[in-house]
């Protein structure tokens, strides 16, 4: 199947004339596709059919938590009353403010945090915000710290976010059991440590059993403990970062709270903190008094990390999801996510080096190339897991089925895993063959970047 580019269907040109502006203030013309509504409807319908999604089948990308996105949350986000401008007065936007206030509260309860900002527009933005808050906190204490300690197995964004905030990153090697190596941690921590960033369960699904001790160690050197919320779906109702000694955390609402991933975004990355850090959260925050909601700036705030209040519509959907599930639903989501991961791993002819895992596990493709195995899995009609990451697991296949799969689809998924592994090297190298496109030349794409239809035309 092949769908021409819009520009190949009809390239049109509109000259700028009869302009209400002097000529020197305008461009000459605009060249863009000029197509009618039926043509566009077909274009995008066909393209959509060339795209895998959660509603296509299993999507077990480790660390991505590809849950089902309830359609009613789209309805509520499409409510015309939600479509308001951010510069309205609080008096005329009480609905929006109330919803934000309550979502702050929901998230605080779920994470065991004292205060929450909803402003960061993605998980990585949440990390950056959290680290800025840590920095502001230390600075307010006249405490100049230069390092953020991060386990080697952490999400790449942790490193990038810490670096963006101006910190030197101290990488912590993984322990033999796949968890934090306490001796290495002890060695890494110092008076320079601004924070330790941790995911728990970690990126191979293991719970950091020494978390209380870890927290004490970090706090003992005056550092803060940061929780990367990417794996929160493992813990709902079973453990709260705040209770474990974490000072700062972000939530990935597009993971844990089922807002759609949208082909890459938008997500939202609210940040929760313990009360000591609250003064430093981004401005403004929503406050309530006598049933009246208002926006309030704090003097010690780090300021803003987004032009406005973050990804509003995403927050509405997250609120809707939490309001639908409540305690029982959220706890059950985690229970089933963990059960599914364990059940699936049990069906695989793969070694899973690290246990006991929770919502995700890292299988190893052993002497096969994990990326090739993944391509072959495409031919069996499923989306493969995250491959070759985390790096300390050789040929890792990081798999997170989430709670939405039933036993049959887990069995299908296991079949794809096992069948791909049983196929010949040649079959793996030639895979995929039953997909919209066959194996795509990514090296060539990077060597000779063609990033627009204009670039293709220039060929």
């Amino acid at each position: 199947r092949y769908e021409p580019l819009l520009s190949e269907k009809n390239a049109a040109r509109e000259e700028i004339d009869d302009s209400p502006l002097p000529d020197e203030l305008t461009r000459d013309a605009v060249e863009l596709p000029g197509l009618s509504e039926p043509e566009l409807a077909r274009h995008y319908t066909r393209l959509s059919q060339m795209n895998w999604s959660v509603e296509s089948g299993p999507y077990p990308l480790g660390s991505c938590t590809m849950k089902y996105n309830p359609s009613f949350t789209e309805d509520v986000a499409a409510d015309p009353n939600a479509a308001i401008h951010p510069d309205r007065s609080p008096r005329t936007s009480q609905g929006t403010l109330e919803l934000l206030y309550e979502l702050q509260d929901y998230l605080a309860r779920i994470g065991g945090m004292d205060a929450v900002t909803l402003q960061p527009p993605a998980g990585a933005a949440g990390e950056f915000t959290g680290i800025l808050v840590a920095k502001a906190y230390h600075e307010s204490n006249g405490d100049d710290r230069s390092e953020v300690v991060i386990p080697a197995s952490a999400h790449g964004t942790n490193f990038a976010s810490a670096a963006m905030a101006g910190y030197d990153v101290v990488e912590l090697p993984s322990g033999d059991d796949g968890r934090v190596d306490m001796e290495a941690l002890d060695a890494a921590l110092s008076e320079d440590t601004a924070a330790l960033m941790l995911t728990n369960p970690n990126t191979v699904g293991l719970f950091e059993r020494d978390i209380v001790e870890i927290a004490e160690m970090v706090h003992d050197v005056g550092g803060l403990l940061y929780y990367d919320g990417a794996n929160l779906n493992a813990l709902l109702g079973r453990g709260r970062p705040g209770d474990m000694g974490f000072d700062i955390m972000h939530y990935n609402v597009h993971k844990t709270f089922a807002t759609p991933h949208g082909g890459g975004g938008p997500g939202a990355g609210p940040v929760g903190v313990v009360s000591e850090l609250e003064p430093f959260l981004p401005n403004p925050r929503v406050r309530e008094k006598g049933g009246n909601y208002r926006l309030e700036d704090a003097e010690d705030s780090i300021g803003k990390v987004h032009g406005y209040t973050g990804n509003w519509f995403v927050l509405v959907k997250a609120y809707a999801y939490i309001a639908r599930l409540g305690d029982a639903g959220l706890s059950d989501a985690s229970a089933k996510a963990v059960l599914n991961a364990n059940y699936l791993a049990e069906q695989l002819d793969y070694e899973v080096p690290y246990e006991p895992f929770h919502h995700e596990f890292a299988a190893t493709a052993g002497d096969r190339d994990a990326a090739d195995v993944a391509k072959r899995m495409l031919d069996y009609g499923v989306h493969p897991p995250t491959t070759k990451w985390p790096e300390f697991v050789p040929e890792a296949m990081l798999t997170e089925p989430t709670e939405i799969e039933n036993r049959d689809s887990l069995d299908d998924l296991a079949h794809a895993f096992n069948a791909a592994m049983a196929d010949s090297d040649e079959e793996l190298e030639n895979a995929p063959s039953r997909t919209t496109a066959r194996r795509i030349d990514q090296v060539g794409a990077a060597r000779d970047p063609q990033l627009s239809w204009q670039a293709l035309d220039d060929e």
């Binding site: 795209n51 401008h85 082909g263 987004h306 939490i322 305690d327 709670e403 039933n406």
Partner: protein, 440 residues
């Protein structure tokens, strides 16, 4: 109501069989969490039926007052055709993720490739990424880009003294971890004071940022000079704009822009309480320093054209702390909506819409100026969508009274309001003028 997640499909029998298969007595035993940090599961959050949850949300949102908004200043929207809502909601788009397996995600990749191409056309620059969070973070990323690409030792970022607070604050935060400093240059009757800017520019400047239209809606007249001025001191010229303005105003490449940032969500999204889509385009030579994702065309094993994410070695998941940005989850779905909206408009529709942004603002300003004690536009410039209004009476009181009449406008200062008109509120300008008359 069942106690449990309505989105977990397990029947009781299935759960039992699966527990059996993994050799676990119950679900709780699968959790390897020490007792001292175990949580009892009681958040105190109620569970609700779909209908009750919907009702809760809609009744909460109904507390937003119904207003006709004449608001802009960086967050704009236009009528979104039904087709955009309909097609963007298709689950294959909405519920997919980053295209790590391009062989089964050609659809979204092609849409993003088309989005990039549209921005290439509109900016005149050959490289556009496939989304940033919003205009503010795009500007901030541009500043960081300038820090990476400059050979010179420049560390000064020059920005207009009149700049949206959010943008300034985000910029400050994004450069806090670098040696960059942010300084302002003065404005002259709404636009850049080019002479003053010239005085400030030296070899220490890493980037000059200007906007067209400005936050007050004025259209810059001396962009080429600003571009040359930046060029002379080897600074990047970063131009802030929005996707509709690009359809009419001077092409950024033609005035020497090295980076274009701004809001693309002005098309494709309704008023979104500030949720946006950061556009980011730049020159070829900065390609490997660009933040955010890029989609490129390539070939598959059968020699057919195919699309894929490319140049990923810039990104955090590979380069970690040496990445060009920490951005991972982006605004892809908004970019899809924006691309659909642009495609829906076509070049004629886009140009017409942009022209209307000029003429509607002009005529509304003229109408308001007819009122006693009102002068608009304050700045003797051409305007795009919005303009500042001088009021003899206190601006805050007028805005408050207008609000009671059902209209929202910005208060800029003690005697200045700002009013923004677009196709959405244009049918109500007469009512706005009448309301002004009423409250004056």
């Amino acid at each position: 109501m069942t106690r449990g997640s309505p989105y977990a499909p397990h029947t009781e029998a299935e759960t039992a069989a699966m527990l059996d298969a993994v050799g676990a007595a119950d679900e709780e035993s699968l959790f390897d969490i020490p007792e001292d940090v175990r949580f009892d599961g009681e958040f105190g959050l109620e569970e609700r039926s779909e209908r009750d949850a919907t009702t809760l949300l809609s009744s909460t949102l109904a507390k937003n007052k119904k207003l006709t908004e004449f608001l802009g200043r960086g967050h704009h929207s236009h009528y979104v055709p039904s087709l955009v809502n309909d097609l963007s909601r298709r689950s294959e788009f909405l519920t997919s993720y980053t295209q790590y397996q391009p062989e089964i995600t050609q659809g979204f990749l092609q849409v993003l490739f088309e989005y990039q191409s549209m921005l290439v056309e509109l900016t005149g620059l050959p490289v556009a990424n496939c989304s940033m969070y919003d205009a503010a973070t795009a500007l901030a990323e541009a500043a960081r880009l300038s820090n990476r690409v400059r050979q010179a030792s420049g560390h000064r970022i020059l920005v207009p003294e009149i700049l949206h607070d959010g943008k300034r604050s985000v910029l400050d935060n994004y450069v806090a971890g670098t040696d960059l400093t942010v300084e302002t240059y003065p404005m002259d009757d709404g636009n850049v004071d080019v002479d003053a800017l010239s005085d400030l520019a030296d070899d220490e400047v890493s980037m000059v940022y200007a906007e067209n239209p400005t936050v007050r809606g004025t259209i810059e007249e001396r962009l080429t000079e600003i571009g040359e001025l930046a060029d002379e001191v080897d600074a990047l010229f970063c131009l802030g704009t929005d996707i509709v303005a690009l359809g009419l105003l001077q092409e950024p490449a033609s005035v020497g822009a090295d980076v274009v940032v701004g809001e693309a969500g002005a098309l494709g999204m309704p008023n979104a309480y500030g949720m946006g889509l950061g556009l980011f385009a730049t020159r070829e030579e900065f390609l490997r320093q660009v933040p955010g994702r890029l989609v490129g065309a390539s070939e598959d094993a059968g020699g057919k054209r195919a699309y894929t994410l490319t140049l990923q070695t810039r990104e955090q998941h590979i380069r970690k702390e040496r990445a060009t940005s920490n951005i991972c989850t982006n605004q892809a779905w908004v970019a899809l909506r924006t691309a659909m909206h642009v495609a829906y408009l076509g070049p004629d529709g886009l140009v017409d819409l942009a022209k209307q942004c000029v003429t509607d603002a002009e005529s509304l300003a003229a109408e308001l100026s007819e009122l006693r004690g009102v002068r608009a536009p304050v700045h003797d410039r051409h305007h795009f969508r919005e303009f500042v209004v001088h009021t003899d009476q206190p601006a805050k009181a007028i805005a408050s009274d207008l609000e009671s009449e059902g209209f929202a406008v910005h208060v800029v200062s003690e005697h200045k309001l700002q009013v923004c008109v677009s196709d959405l509120n244009a049918p109500k300008v007469d009512q706005l003028v009448a309301a002004f008359e009423e409250v004056l």
